[in-house]
Point group: C2
Chain length 210, copies 2
């Protein structure tokens, strides 16, 4: 079936939001940890993490204008610090529950049953239960004129993962740790590695690495 711009414009608003959101693809789910005024810890789920660069290591995170997670953005802009936490598939319900509209003085950590932990370098809380913990430092705010969304760029400060997930060439097998993926606002996925392929060159088909 084919939908054109008129069809999309005539869709029920909620139907279109679900349609367009889910069609954007399946991605690793990220719990973003921040610290607010009065040291209230905050945790919110995102599916908009993108790789920006490896040297220096930088990731981007998109904030939509209609999102309820402005607490997260405000805390990052104020403290310059946040954490990215990837969760095990068994924690899908807890991860999803961080998207509920809790009050600013309430901590999603406590409400959903996850444990905030800290290190000396990063003021923002990590999720103790997360197999992947990344400390980030705010680097740049990029305002997108088209619809008021904000791309937030951060520098990686530290990475904590089990060494066994990292291959000899640096490749991180997130599937080995059964890291949770998500799609749209409410669907959760597991991922299964098919293969790695050799560097692609013209006129030669790639070979399977593992």
């Amino acid at each position: 079936m084919k939908w054109n711009q008129d069809d999309l414009g005539e869709m029920n608003k909620r139907y279109r939001a679900t349609f367009i959101n889910s069609l954007a693809g399946i991605k690793t789910a990220v719990l973003v940890g921040t610290i607010g005024p009065d040291n209230i810890t905050n945790l919110a789920i995102f599916n908009s993490l993108i790789h920006i660069g490896a040297n220096p290591p930088m990731y981007g995170l998109l904030f939509r204008p209609d999102t309820v997670r402005r607490d997260t953005l405000n805390h990052i802009l104020k403290t310059k610090s946040y954490t990215l936490n990837y969760m095990h598939i068994d924690d899908a319900v807890k991860a999803h529950q961080t998207s509920a509209k809790y009050e600013s003085h309430e901590s999603e950590f406590e409400k959903v049953g996850l444990t905030p932990i800290f290190d000396q370098v990063c003021p923002a809380p990590f999720v103790k239960e997360a197999p992947v913990k990344i400390a980030m430092q705010f680097e740049e705010r990029v305002d997108i004129k088209s619809n008021g969304t904000i791309l937030l760029i951060g520098k990686i400060q530290s990475i904590e993962i089990d060494q066994t997930l990292v291959a000899q060439d640096g490749f991180v097998s997130l599937d080995k740790a059964e890291i949770l993926a998500c799609c749209g606002l409410d669907a959760y996925y597991r991922t299964e590695k098919l293969m790695r392929l050799s560097y692609a060159k013209p006129e030669i088909w790639p070979t399977q690495l593992d």
Copy 2:
């Protein structure tokens, strides 16, 4: 194991690129179709598609300064038109092979064995074999100062998918079509749905929708 900024800085350049790229997560693989001068069709694989907004429907695509896929960016800026094509997992090798450095006068479609098709509205080629075909119109170029990457925003012009993949509320089950996902520059994945969860509300655990 924990790596800090100094550890990351001291890493071998290629190792760090693989490490940071793959750690950014698993995402639906997207083949971007464009048309160049002399009507040469172009196809390149990306793992940086993000949802920007549903009303109007807009997606973003990140171009890194070190990427070989500047053909794609140049064609989009010139023609204002591109397509997003999601592939079946069985086409992983062909999808990967589009990342080889073919000459500008060579078409990746022909080289990897995929079929370009066109419609009346969109000058850019679709991949006939793709279970998901999205026509995009260039909307905004966003330059990221931190490292020279470019976020390209486009408006969705049309969407073509099998109606059976779309649930009653608009949710698109990409896993039902066995859509290819990827991680870093060379790893390919299948995804498996765990569940959809009800809208999260404070003080009530979500229920499983399907």
